[in-house]
């Protein structure tokens, strides 16, 4: 009896020790990740600091043009370029992605759905330079025929929407898959139509997950560099139509980092900082939305 208790006690101690080791190593890994993000941000801030000090933050928005060698540092056209491309791509990819997700989770026959999902996963895995290449040799000439020069805001938007489509779709599929099957069963047992089930029960319950999907995809669109650089034409200007070439912040950094010095180089870091801030803002927003979904127990209260 006594020995039995002793052996139980020692195995309990062993379990505790394993727990402790696991906990500490996870903490260590977690803090390394956090530290890396912090260090990168600090580094960018440090490199951007001379520009912020010499020129002031306001000038980046008030300078009329981007002629860094002549001391004119207007970031506005490129912020606008990045924003327009990302918003356009999100506007196209969101409905397509959500419809794809609905097809996969609710309508499609399994025989089609499985290959379709594989296809989406494959799309998500294609390197962006390949998208860019394809855009350059296939899409841009088509647009050129429609309205020269071809390398344009439109080309960037289309390529990016294709690139973030799998992000939207796969995240939306994941959030739809979390809806308890009992909702589907309950709705079927009440012979509610598929349309009612979707619009009144399933989509509202998945709302926060779907929002998160869209917001994260927007973040990805903002950060994309290579494909955008290849198809957008990279002229620094405020576009007057979708056929005008534009330059995104990311493309700007990639294009000029190699030879930039002094204030010019520092301003490039400022644009990196701006990008970081926008993406961080989006992530916080996504987090906020999904937490909101949690706290209200994903309850939908309709008109009274």
């Amino acid at each position: 009896m006594q020995t039995f208790e002793m052996s139980q006690l020692s195995s309990l101690r062993r379990a505790h020790r394993r727990d402790r080791i696991l906990r500490h190593s996870l903490r260590l890994l977690g803090s390394i990740t956090g530290l890396l993000v912090l260090l990168i941000t600090l580094f960018v801030l440090q490199e951007a600091w001379p520009a912020l000090q010499n020129l002031g933050f306001i000038r980046f928005w008030t300078d009329g043009s981007w002629h860094p060698l002549e001391g004119s540092f207007g970031l506005m056209p490129m912020v606008l370029g990045s924003g327009l491309i990302a918003l356009g791509a999100t506007a196209i990819a969101t409905p397509l992605g959500l419809l794809s997700a609905l097809f996969c989770q609710c309508y499609g026959p399994p025989l089609l759905v499985v290959p379709y999902r594989r296809l989406l996963e494959l799309l998500a895995g294609i390197p962006s330079v390949v998208y860019g290449f394809w855009g350059l040799v296939v899409l841009v000439p088509q647009i050129n025929r429609l309205h020269p020069p071809g390398q344009s805001l439109l080309a960037g938007t289309l390529i990016l929407s294709l690139m973030i489509l799998p992000t939207v779709a796969l995240l939306a599929i994941a959030s739809l898959a979390q809806i308890p099957s009992s909702y589907w069963q309950g709705a079927a047992a009440l012979s509610l139509s598929r349309w009612t089930t979707l619009t009144r029960i399933i989509l509202p319950s998945a709302r926060s997950g779907l929002f998160t999907a869209v917001v994260l995809a927007t973040g990805r669109a903002l950060g994309e560099t290579m494909a955008v650089l290849m198809v957008c034409g990279n002229v620094v200007q405020v576009p007057s139509s979708v056929f005008d070439p534009v330059r995104s912040l990311t493309a700007n950094i990639a294009l000029e980092m190699a030879y930039a010095t002094g204030d010019h180089r520092a301003v490039l870091f400022v644009s990196g900082l701006v990008l970081l801030a926008i993406v961080a803002g989006l992530v916080v927003m996504a987090e906020g939305i999904s937490n909101q979904g949690m706290s209200s127990e994903s309850v939908i209260v309709h008109e009274r």
């Binding site: 009992s182 009440l190 012979s191 009144r200």
Partner: protein
């Protein structure tokens, strides 16, 4: 009176009748050769050990089995004289006439009101009125009536517009029963409706089933033999033999408990008594 009625009606055409029914999930047969007539207005209890195919059987009766991939049903089920397993059956219409209550209460993540109004509106059960106001009034009346039916009105009348998920388990289950009743089905299928409830709440549900007895035909699965004895007119006993479920005996509640013919039934009900 109701027992007499059901005894009388069993001689005539049953409302719902399974004939040589077999269900398999892929290669695995869940149950086979089940023939069971269910008379109009009676409460039929289905009992038996876990995994003998009770839930699977119930899900055939309103074709919920269609929703399970690789699930295959053979045989016939006659409802009002037509075979509902035929591919021409309109399952939406069928499920309106044969309602189902699940083991775990599954209200939608909507308000109490909306849980009931949604099926009402969907099926146009409330006649469209001259004004929006009159329409809402009519919906309200239907909702109040059905909530009174399940004995929930007094408990929720002040929180009709708050979430149904905030109700207790027993209240949720009664809400689900109300939601099924509001479509005015002819048959109610109940899969262990009390298994998630405490004794008091399950007594309320039991009493509700007894109150509904003359109006609705009810098929209820239960693991609680005492409960079956209290509420059922007839009892069907399922059993697993050679890894397949089958119906080993069906009879009036009295006969199953006092004079079972199958030795497994005898062992099962005496175990329940002990």
């Amino acid at each position: 009176m109701t027992t007499m009625m059901s005894a009388a009606t069993t001689c005539t055409q049953p409302l719902l009748e399974a004939k040589h029914l077999q269900l398999s999930y892929g290669q695995q047969v869940a149950f086979h050769d089940v023939s069971l007539p269910i008379a109009s207005g009676e409460i039929m209890a289905i009992v038996g050990p876990s995994g003998c195919g009770k839930s699977s059987f119930l899900s055939c009766l309103n074709r919920m089995s269609d929703l399970v991939p690789h699930c295959h049903v053979q045989g016939e089920i006659h409802f009002n004289g037509t075979n509902i397993l035929s591919p021409r059956t309109d399952t939406l219409l069928l499920r309106r006439r044969i309602g189902m209550i699940f083991q775990k209460p599954n209200p939608f993540p909507l308000s109490v009101w909306e849980n009931l109004a949604l099926p009402l509106r969907e099926h146009g059960l409330v006649k469209s009125q001259t004004s929006r106001r009159a329409f809402r009034q009519a919906i309200h009346q239907a909702i109040e009536a059905v909530l009174r039916d399940v004995g929930l009105w007094e408990e929720v009348k002040n929180r009709l517009h708050s979430s149904a998920l905030a109700l207790s388990g027993g209240q949720q289950q009664r809400l689900c029963i109300a939601r099924a009743l509001i479509l005015q089905p002819e048959v109610l299928l109940l899969d262990e409706p009390c298994s998630a409830l405490d004794p008091l709440a399950s007594a309320v549900v039991e009493e509700l089933m007894l109150r509904l007895r003359p109006r609705y035909t009810q098929v209820v699965i239960t693991h609680n033999l005492a409960q079956a004895k209290r509420i059922a007119d007839r009892i069907a006993v399922f059993w697993v033999q050679q890894h397949k479920g089958q119906l080993i005996e069906v009879g009036s509640t009295q006969q199953i408990f006092n004079a079972p013919t199958h030795e497994l039934t005898a062992a099962y009900v005496s175990g329940g008594k002990g």
